[in-house]
Every structure is written in structure tokens, then in C-alpha cells.
């Protein structure tokens, strides 16, 4: 070997859509820098058509994902945590670069993110029992209420918490059987785009989580007005005026909206992306027919 320093192979940060890693359909990219101004990489600048493709991929994946057993969804989320654990060092480095945080502090954040995935992995087969139930009714009926996934949830991820905040935003949505289109932090998208590699290798079916990087003001309005999106998380929309506009656009197509700044525990987050279905089941007839209830 010569004494010359080796030329490093730089990573191309691409989108994660439908289980694949495409560049933006528009061919655009934008430079991403650390807070001290060091240029880190170029990330794909997603267009409205990338958002449309991501929603189509999420819609395609939603029914099979919701149809999996809750137990399997939990195993897959746990697997994602395993994959992230194995690459914690890399993510800590990327996070430190992106946010300017102390590397040890960044590692702590990555570990929190891993624990958060495990936490929601545990919820997948329990939230229905906690949120739903058997209701007492005055008649010969069993009356059950169960939470069911909304469908496709679009998430504008937090701007200043590019990994933990992003996982915190989409994990409860997919734990309950939704699929997600996530717009990563505009200025700090790199940890999220690397997370795509973790998700792609953790048995998570393609399209369940789709990661876009780009401008909130450009992409979010198309997600908000998209008729095939059922839920909208505005957690990462800093501009109050834009958030109000997005909420108005979402109302046109009957979406559940989570406003920026709203706080809540895990159960509240799980409940956010579900809707209740109540079933009346005639108990008398089943009993009369010798049903063993």
C-alpha cells in the first residue's frame, strides 16, 4: 500500500419507497450540512410524484400488513430494533454529525430509539385488549369494540430530533397495522435515510414504512390533500400557518390529524391511528344452537 490516504467511498443517501431505494423521480438533490457548516452529503430532494409513489406503495402494503398476526408485527419491529442495535455506532456518528451533539449523548439517543422500537413491538398484541373491550349491553348480544388501523398515515417527522423523534412518530402507526409515508427532517435527513437500510433488512415488508427527504413546504401539502391518505401527523411542521393550511386540506379528504406540539403517552399515540369498530353478535342464538361461548 502507498502512503496516500485512501479515498473514502461516500454514501449516496436515497429515498426508501416500497422496499427500494430510489433517487427522487425529479432527479433533484440538496446539500445537507452539519450545524457547524461542514457539508455531509447530498440527499434526494423528493417531489410530489415521489410522495404519490410512496402513498401508492404504502396503500399496496397496508392490507397485507394489517392482515399479519399482531405477534408477527411485534417480532418484525423487534427485529428492526436488533438491526439498529448492531449498527448503533454508525447511527450515533450520523446523529452527532447531523445535530452537533456530543457523540456519547448521540449514542444514548440511538439506544433510546432502539428501546422505543422494542416498546412498540411489545404493544402490537396488547393494544387491542387495552383500547377495546366487551361492552355491557341490555340484550342477548355480545358487544365488542376493537381498534382497527386507519390505513395509510403520512408523517411529517420532527425537525430537531431526526432519529428518535422519527421512530417515535411512525412506530405506533405501523404497530397497529397502518403503513406510513414519513417525510424526514428537512435539514437533518441522513439518520432517517440510513434507517431505511435497517428497516429493509428487518423483514419489514416493502412499503410499510416509506422515507422521503425534502422540503416540508413542497411535499407536505400533497400528502395532506391526497385522498388516499387516512391520517396526517404534523409533528414536524414548524410554521403554524402552514400547519393550519395542511389541516384544512386534510379535512377536505376526511383525515385524522395530529397537530404539532401535541404530547401524549404510547397508548395515546397508538390510539391516534386507529378507529373503533363495534360488533354486535347475537348471543341468544349462539347459545340456543349449543354454541360454546
Amino acid at each position: 500500500m502507498s502512503e496516500h490516504e485512501r479515498l473514502r467511498v461516500k454514501k449516496t443517501y436515497k429515498l426508501y419507497v416500497g422496499g427500494k431505494f430510489p433517487r427522487s423521480e425529479s432527479g433533484r438533490s440538496y446539500p445537507v450540512s452539519s450545524p457547524d457548516g461542514t457539508e455531509l452529503a447530498n440527499a434526494a430532494l423528493a417531489s410530489r410524484k415521489d410522495a404519490r409513489d410512496a402513498v401508492a406503495a404504502a396503500r399496496k402494503a397496508q392490507r397485507p400488513w394489517a392482515g399479519q398476526t399482531a405477534y408477527l408485527r411485534g417480532q418484525i419491529l423487534y427485529r428492526a430494533a436488533e438491526m439498529l442495535e448492531g449498527r448503533a455506532g454508525q447511527f450515533a456518528e450520523e446523529l452527532a454529525d447531523a445535530t452537533g451533539a456530543d457523540p456519547r449523548e448521540a449514542l444514548g439517543t440511538v439506544e433510546q430509539a432502539i428501546d422505543r422500537l422494542v416498546h412498540y413491538a411489545g404493544w402490537t398484541d396488547k393494544y387491542t385488549s387495552v383500547l377495546g373491550g366487551a361492552n355491557p349491553v341490555g340484550g342477548p348480544y355480545f358487544n365488542h369494540t376493537t381498534p382497527e388501523p386507519l390505513g395509510v398515515v403520512a408523517v411529517v417527522a420532527p425537525q430537531d430530533d431526526p432519529l428518535l423523534g422519527l421512530i417515535e412518530a411512525f412506530a405506533p402507526a405501523i404497530a397497529t397495522g397502518n403503513t406510513a409515508v414519513v417525510l424526514a427532517s428537512e435539514a437533518k435527513p441522513l439518520p432517517a435515510l440510513s434507517l431505511g437500510e435497517v428497516l429493509a433488512t428487518s423483514d419489514l415488508p416493502g412499503g410499510v414504512v416509506n422515507l422521503l427527504s425534502g422540503k416540508v413546504s413542497e411535499v407536505a401539502p400533497h400528502l395532506a390533500s391526497h385522498a388516499d391518505v387516512n391520517g396526517l401527523d404534523l409533528g414536524g411542521v414548524a410554521d403554524a400557518g402552514l400547519a393550519a393550511e395542511l389541516e384544512a386540506a386534510a379535512a377536505e379528504t376526511l383525515k385524522v390529524v395530529r397537530r404539532p406540539g401535541r404530547d401524549g403517552g404510547a397508548l395515546d399515540l397508538l390510539r391516534q391511528w386507529t378507529e373503533y369498530k363495534t360488533v354486535w353478535h347475537p348471543a341468544g342464538m349462539a347459545a340456543g344452537a349449543g354454541g360454546a361461548y
Partner: protein, 304 residues
Amino acid sequence: MGSILSGAEAASLVRALPGVDAVGLEARAAGLATRSVKTTSKARAIDLAISMIDLTTLEGADTPGKVRSLAAKAVRPDGDAPSTAAVCVYPSMVATAKEALRGTGVKVASVATGFPAGQVPLDVRLADTEAAVRAGADEIDMVINRGAFLAGDLERVFHEIKAVKAASGDARLKVILETGELATYDAVRQASWLAMHAGADFIKTSTGKVGVNATLPVTLLMMQAVRDFRAATGVQVGVKPAGGIRNTKDAIKYLVAVNETLGDDWLSNEWFRFGASSLLNDLLMQRQKLKTGRYSGPDYVTVD
């Protein structure tokens, strides 16, 4: 339109056709597919494409109820969208479709002649055709005898198409070449000319039942055959790509190819059709997008 040719004459004419420049054909098709059609032109193209659809259901599980709901959708796909050209069904469903479409202007097309393989005796294929016509089919979609064609027996294929044409009476005859089974572009060109010489009113790419269905190069080749046939004989024949055309972008590529290859004379559902089922929903969703500015989704069109 009967043919004035004998089988031997038609076969020798067809055998004398020049070979196809496959590289040039595919490059031309790829070139046409790069056109971007937007806004008002796109809105027109979408409505034109809807009006050209033969809305198709060819399943063993078809029921009268399914055919009736398909017919209702063909007549009024969505709001002010135009009707489709026809509903395409199996012969046993023709009467149901005819009843559901009476007075609407939407035609009933029936596949016949032992669709999709065509591997039954000729008299059975002819009886199949006659039954469909008796039940009220306005159009017959026949399959050619690929076995005979690939064995080189062009005369037999020619005579069979002529016989089916005679059995179809006033119904317009679409001849399905099943290009996915013909293997080469040369064979597609030969089959196109053979069918047109035998009296086809339309030449159609595929049944939709084999692995390879309509592709743009194959359809372009058939358009060129139709154009050259009219130049040679004065007889105009229609083209129908079928199978595998699922979204608006694809449909518009075909319309661009029609416009560039055949011109205005073919740009109506009298002379160009799409054999499709899921295509209609995509066209309707794109139509909604153009109207409202919002992306639509499968919750806003029917489940077929």
C-alpha cells in the same frame, strides 16, 4: 368485408412480407413513449381513452350480477365521464350484458371460438360464434389457431378466419393474434396481414390469458400493418391492444402511437380500442386528480 383472395394467394402474399427491423421498431416505440401529455391535453386523452375501453370480464367466476354491475359502470363510469365503447364477456353472459346495455349505445363484445386457446374443432368454434351472435353480441373477438399458424399452415388459419367472419354475420370481427405466443415480430406482421386479408374488422393483440400481453412495440407494428393495408387495399381495419395496460400513462402512450402512426382517422372508438378492466379505475382516478387537484385513491372508485 369478405376477401377476394384464395387461401393460397393470401398465404403467398403474407410469406412475401419483408422482415421486421426489431431494433428500429423498439426504438420507435420507446421514442413515442417519451412524450409527456399534460393538463387539458391530458384531460382530453383520458376521456378519449375511457371512450375506447372494451370493459372486460373473462373469468370462470363471472356471474350475471357481476356482468350487470360491470355494464352499469361501462355506461356511467363516474360523474360526467364518457361511457366506455363496449363490455366484453364470454358468450354465456352476452344475453345478460345485452339486456343491461339496451338503449345505452354501449356495445356488447363477446369472445368466441374456444377462447382463449382456440384448441377445439372448427365446427365447435363456429357454433360458439353463432351462439354469441344469436344472443345479441355486436362484436365478436375470435382467437386464431396459433397451432396451425406456428406449424406454417397459413391457409388453414385464413380459411378459419373467413369461416368465423361468415358466422359472425353483421357483428364486427376482432381477430386476436395472441402475439405473446407468436414469438417473433415477423410472425406478428404475417398474422396481422393474414387476418386482414381474411376479412378482420379489427386486429387485437392478446387474450390477456398468457404471460406476455400487449406491448407497445407489438401494437405499433400492428398499427403499421393496418396503415399499409389501407394504403394497399383501401380497407380500414381497427386495432385493439389488450391485456397488461393498467394505467393512464400506458394508455396515453398508445394514443400517442395511434396519432403518430395512423392519424385522426383511427382516433375514435370505431377504430381503436383498449381491452382492459383495471385501466378504467386508474383513468378515473387521474380524472379526479385533474378536476380537484388532489391525488385520488382506490377508495374513490368501484371495486370490481
